[in-house]
Symmetry: C2
Subunit: 136 residues, 2 copies
DNA sequence: TTTAATTGTCACATTATTTGTTACAATTAA
DNA sequence: TTAATTGTAACAAATAATGTGACAATTAAA
């Protein structure tokens, strides 16, 4: 992950968790992160598809959590935004004439899966509520 | 990590581990990965700085492992090539007028460190020799 | 019914990162 | 003296990430 998507998503959700039932709008959220509101709206679409937020269009609209923050794991957030594996990408065309080239991507698939699982598993144990409690 | 650096590095080292004491050159290695030799040489510089390989310039030169593959952990390889944390980057200027904006980067630093430590710790237990044994 | 605020979304611009390529000085063995 | 090789620079190309302006559709309130 060489992007800020996880940081942006957890920032959004931390704000929402502090005002359950309130419809916060993307301008307000963007003001807290200090990024363009479109960045926030784009991330909100992903979080909506993941079932973590619900949104209301139109005047007095906005977004709120789809469920209590104690039911949202950091793993769910991570899965919603992640786009590469922890150990990165594989090379596309290793040489099949070479024993190492021929087998390496299968071995990496296994190692990459194990490593991702480890991270998922740890994040599953942490909730958004726990994360939010750390803020004064 | 949305790059192929770990995959490239472990590919290089797996090849070297199969021929201990031999000076393999960057063209040969590049042929197995099927990337440009400069990509390989650039990664070799990093692996050299990390104390994992030694190299010899000039005719009949090349690179070999700096120590037995049983003494090289996957964590050492990962550390040599990693350039971002597992959970990505933080936003640069969260709004300090906002309680969440003011505190979030410290909380993320902690979470990111924990997550990275987890991965390091797991990779410390695996050696290049173990990885190499999986190849026929 | 009209107005204002808001999401969802598109198109494009800009910046950053990653990968590829050519070239060559310095080094070393034959 | 020649040929092969690393180390490295400079630049090109491709891909990914972030920023921006615009606007249709929707909704609440005036």
């Amino acid at each position: 992950m060489s992007n800020t998507r996880f940081a942006t998503a957890i920032h959004i959700l931390t704000l929402l968790a502090r005002q359950p039932g309130e419809w916060l709008n993307s301008d307000y959220i963007a003001g807290s992160i200090q990024v363009n509101p479109v960045i926030v709206r784009r991330e909100l679409i992903i979080l909506n598809e993941a079932g973590l937020v619900i949104s209301k269009k139109g005047k007095e609209g906005g977004v709120q959590l789809a469920k209590p923050s104690s039911k949202i794991s950091l793993a769910a957030i991570y899965h919603a935004v992640k786009n590469t594996e922890v150990l990165g990408k594989k090379n596309l065309n290793p040489n099949s004439q070479c024993p190492v080239g021929r087998q390496i991507n299968d071995r990496l698939t296994q190692l990459f899966l194990e490593t991702d699982y480890l991270v998922s598993n740890a994040l599953t144990k942490k909730t958004l509520a726990d994360f939010g409690k750390q803020f004064k």
